[in-house]
């Protein structure tokens, strides 16, 4: 291993600019003549718009335009789309209501976009927005998805009389029912997976610009996938043809999924730029992010696990109601279906699984993918069930897991997935050792002496990453392929530019990707630049989400590098006057086998461009290759996280005393960045378990609309993490990579809740497990003990 190659903990190249304040984010960009957009948002969760009167606003100083949904319609601008078709059990397609970028006749959640004011300054736009008179007729709102399905509930969209988008299912119902009939023990749980608000440090932003000279648009925006944004804005929204729209996603300060989607604001800024003849800039305020960024999770689930008398799992039955919010966001439909139910087998050999999911409209912000997207929800269901089953049956939770782990690979689950490789016993054993499980009882006694309750919780998570084989997802309803592209451009002096369709918004691609290139081409890492996030530079790409950039994005780069090496061999053969078959490439040198004749990589690059040693008939000059990599299977990162907590029974305060993560990510390129991903993911998972929870009141007002009430995890809420690895390289991936970005967020919530319920001796602990929730569970446990 070289100091900068695969497996080296190289310091991040991009940090120099980030930590010295030299990053270039969308809001740092200012275009000549730019005007400012301010969105007038609905104060009501549900209302019809009778009239919008902008006369007074238009007369105010600095106001350039006030645009509404009528203007969009007049320009024949289409609505936003949901790109994944889900069919109900009965075969009917999902019921997708219209999703205009500015409301047309109706608003459906607090924060919905009513009009945009474009003015010379932001302050003037805000002042004018207050003068826009909107005549609303308020309607009753519904925020609870189960209530939304009931007769007589307020109807969010005309297309669905009971607000149900789809009633989907997966698995074998008859086989699962039969498994439950045989069961000696059944564990049942009612679980809520709490709604989360993403809160990337950088709020969303957009600058739309139109050049009448070329009739072309440019959109600068906070996107995790600029090419997909361009595709949607061209092919579906219809703002401009694809070749007349350039989308640039410069430095982006965190996404966590929330910046995958194509939102109203960037759509409107791009469209408005031509209408007003000025660049139009919008940057979200934090309050707008709370209201109108796509939220995450929000499931209500009944789950049942069937076991035999020895604790072998026979079957799993799950019914979930998923709150999709007021509109179907870009990938909303797929999250509680194909990103959720196929993971319900966990790490276990479960003969029969049946899962039903109802997707439901409510008068709340749209819900879509958020770090983990469906997989944290699945892991929470499986790992809570397994833990509770062990407690109910009086078995050690680690032993019950071991009894049911999948041991032979490949393994076909009853819910689509074919696990290629893993070693779940290895990660469990290593985690037990790192967590000093054998001395837990001693620590528990020590805590008890101080009046504290100590508990331990496990989470054997699995995820499907490296998304995804295009054919497979196409057959499941995806509107796009999920390959990735890369281009390797070698300069005449031997330095290299990598153009990737992946997008880095905190993941460290500029370092990790360069490590691969340095390793494969044998050149210094400083000679490599990674270019991403600009549709005019990178030909196409599917972007970054679903822990896919390493597994899919880098595989595409590796494939292009192979082509560069192959071409380099041809060049070297001409220069060295040898046969191409005799040229070997190793450690940055092209050599003629069995001789001391050699050319450095830089020499070959120069020869490729000056083209003095071969004729154009023999060989094309230049050294630049591209590749598209389409995976042949999902990848299956898995591992074991163990959480140890202490609860103060007098106050209900939970402190996390120990955190042990043992993950199998396959091949690791940069262990420092990977460990950082684990830390960040676990922090988010702990946030969900202990602190975060979006709450609407019955009128659809967001109660947790600022950091005063929505509790983000802080450093002091978190322990020091113990991070370990086990490795089974992914056989279907050319680099052996599985992916690591979401693991922590997927594993953590179940581990935390399993630990708290162990500590307090009661299973009724909902997320977020605030002190009040935990204190009540302590009270219930005490009452039950008194009754017994």
């Amino acid at each position: 291993m070289s100091a900068t190659g695969i497996g080296a903990a190289v310091r991040r190249k991009e940090d120099q600019r980030f930590i010295t304040g030299k990053g270039q984010y969308t809001d740092d960009i200012n275009r000549p003549g730019q005007a400012y957009a301010y969105f007038l948002r609905s104060p009501h969760a549900h209302a019809t718009i009778k009239k919008i009167d902008a006369k007074a606003a238009l007369a105010m100083p600095g106001v350039i335009a006030v645009l509404t949904g009528d203007d969009l319609a007049a320009d024949k601008i289409g609505g936003l789309i949901c790109g994944w078709m889900i069919h109900s059990k009965d075969g009917s397609p999902m019921k997708a209501g219209p999703h205009p970028a500015l409301a047309q006749g109706k608003v459906r959640y607090v924060g919905d976009h009513v009009a945009v004011v474009v003015a010379e300054s932001l302050a003037q736009a805000k002042d004018a927005a207050e003068a826009v008179k909107v005549d609303y007729a308020e309607l009753k709102a519904v925020v609870d998805p189960a209530a939304a399905q009931k007769n007589g509930a307020p109807q969010v969209h005309d297309v669905s009389s009971d607000n149900t988008v789809y009633q989907w299912h997966l698995g074998d119902k008859a086989a699962t029912d039969a498994a439950f009939k045989q069961a000696k023990h059944v564990t049942r749980l009612d679980l809520v997976n709490n709604r989360l608000i993403p809160n990337a440090i950088e709020p969303r932003a957009a600058i739309g610009e139109y050049d009448p000279g070329t009739d072309a648009y440019t959109l600068y925006t906070t996107s995790q996938n600029p090419h997909v944004a361009r595709l949607v804005l061209s092919a579906f929204v219809g703002i401009a043809p694809e070749h007349k729209l350039r989308v640039i996603a410069p430095d982006v300060g965190g996404g966590f999924g929330s910046k995958i989607f194509i939102y109203a604001e960037e759509t409107v800024c791009t469209w408005a730029a031509k209408k007003v003849g000025r660049p139009v800039k919008w940057t979200a305020e934090r309050s707008e992010s709370f209201l109108a960024d796509a939220h995450g999770r929000d499931h209500v689930t009944r789950a049942e696990l069937a076991l035999d008398d020895r604790g072998r799992i026979l079957g799993l039955r799950v019914k979930t109601i998923a709150n999709l919010g007021a509109y179907l966001s870009t990938f909303a439909s797929s999250v509680p279906t194909y990103l959720y139910a196929p993971l319900l087998s966990g790490q276990y050999d479960i003969p029969a699984i049946y899962c039903e999911v109802d997707g439901v409209y409510t008068n709340t912000a749209p819900v879509d993918a958020y770090r983990g997207a469906g997989r944290p929800e699945a892991t929470f269901v499986v790992e809570r069930l397994v833990e509770v089953a062990a407690r109910e049956m009086g078995l050690d939770p680690a032993a019950l897991r071991k009894r049911n782990y999948i041991k032979k690979f490949p393994h076909q689950t009853p819910v689509i997935m074919n696990y290629d490789i893993g070693n779940y016993h290895a990660s469990l054993d290593k985690a037990l050792e790192l967590a000093d499980y054998q001395n837990f009882a001693k620590r528990k006694r020590e805590s008890a002496r101080r009046g504290r309750l100590r508990g331990i919780g496990f989470s054997s998570y699995i995820e499907a990453c490296g998304i995804a084989p295009s054919q497979a997802v196409g057959s499941l309803g995806a509107g796009v392929g999920l390959w990735e592209s890369a281009e390797v451009r070698v300069n005449p002096t031997g330095s290299v530019e990598i153009l990737t369709g992946s997008h880095s918004h905190g993941q460290g691609h500029e370092t990790t990707f360069a490590q691969l290139v340095s390793d494969r081409l044998g050149i210094p890492i400083e000679h490599v630049t990674v270019i991403h996030g600009d549709t005019d530079k990178v030909q196409f790409g599917m972007g970054t989400y679903g822990s896919r950039s390493g597994a899919v994005g880098m595989a595409a780069i590796a494939k292009a590098i192979d082509k560069v090496i192959a071409k380099g061999k041809k060049v070297a053969a001409h220069v060295l006057e040898a046969s191409e078959g005799d040229i070997e490439f190793k450690d940055g040198k092209f050599t003629v086998a069995g001789t001391d004749k050699a050319l450095g990589f830089g020499d070959v690059a120069l020869q490729a461009y000056i083209a003095h040693k071969f004729s154009g008939q023999d060989l094309e000059p230049g050294l630049k290759e591209g590749a598209f990599y389409d995976p042949t299977n999902f990848t299956f990162p898995a591992g074991m996280h163990i959480c140890e907590v202490e609860v103060d029974p007098q106050t209900g305060v939970t402190t996390i005393e120990r955190w042990t993560a043992v993950d199998d990510f396959g091949t690791v390129i940069n262990p420092m960045i990977v460990e950082g991903q684990v830390h960040g993911g676990v922090a988010q998972g702990i946030g969900q378990a202990l602190l975060e929870g979006a709450r609407y009141d019955e009128n659809g007002q967001l109660v947790t609309a600022s950091f005063m009430d929505y509790c983000m995890p802080r450093a002091g809420d978190l322990p020091s993490f113990t991070v370990g690895m086990t490795t089974t390289p992914c056989p279907s991936n050319p680099l052996g990579i599985k992916g690591c970005g979401e693991a922590g967020a997927i594993a953590a919530p179940a581990a935390v809740i399993n630990a708290i319920t162990d500590a307090v001796g009661h299973e009724d602990v909902a997320m977020p497990a605030t002190p009040q929730v935990v204190w009540r569970a302590c009270q219930k446990a005490a009452q039950r003990m008194a009754a017994e």
Partner: protein, 268 residues
Amino acid sequence: MYAFDYHRPKSLRQAVNLLAKVEDAKLLAGGHTLLPTMKQRLAAPANIIDLNGIAELAGIERKGRAVVIGAMTRHADVAESPIVQEAIPALAELADQIGDPQVRNRGTIGGSIANNDPAADYPAACIALGATIITNKRKVPAEEFFTGLFETALEEGEIITRVSFPLPSKAAYMKFPNPASRYALVGVFVAKRGAEVRVAVTGAGADGVFRVGAMEEALKARFSPKSLEGIKVPSKGLNSDIHADADYRAHLIGVMARRAVANATGKA
């Protein structure tokens, strides 16, 4: 934020004159409540009188059996003050638990008291320690100063200049922070001075800070955490929100009071 006229007086006299002269004025101390409200366009004063240029309003001094703190003294300065740490360590500890470092280096004791947020920390200290709020016009006992939710006895044209805290023999503040905002979900300040004992609770009361008579009586008999066992604070009149309902708050008052007494008696 709407437009406003900004004034930065150099002396208390100038500030008082401005306050009398200009229409619809707000005093700006640390600005932690006023500025966010203005940014959200929920407040739109025509005039802002910034007190940050008035040197005479800041500072901490020991005056006999009292510590006197200028209204514009930052929380961080109270927390780090050797005078306060020596004379009333509980008050320094309270200041050290307000918000976060940014808040503590900007927020002021006068601003906090004048705002009388029902979840602020200082009102509990003022009541429990029997502080006197000194203004440009008069001296107001803390008991008479905090009159209700965000309401005080301050009159038109009145500016808090100092707060005088008599020295207790024993005192402690125990705070249970709201995990999100770090304001007090429940905060209990316990103080013993001579024969008198006061237990003041912030964060919990629907009308702001209040005293718990039953606890005070029990502690007068014997100043020990044990004296508080079995004393239940009724949940009626306590706040309920998404973070804590009234029953939980009532329970926490008991826990925090016992811990405060234990702390004050060195038994924590």
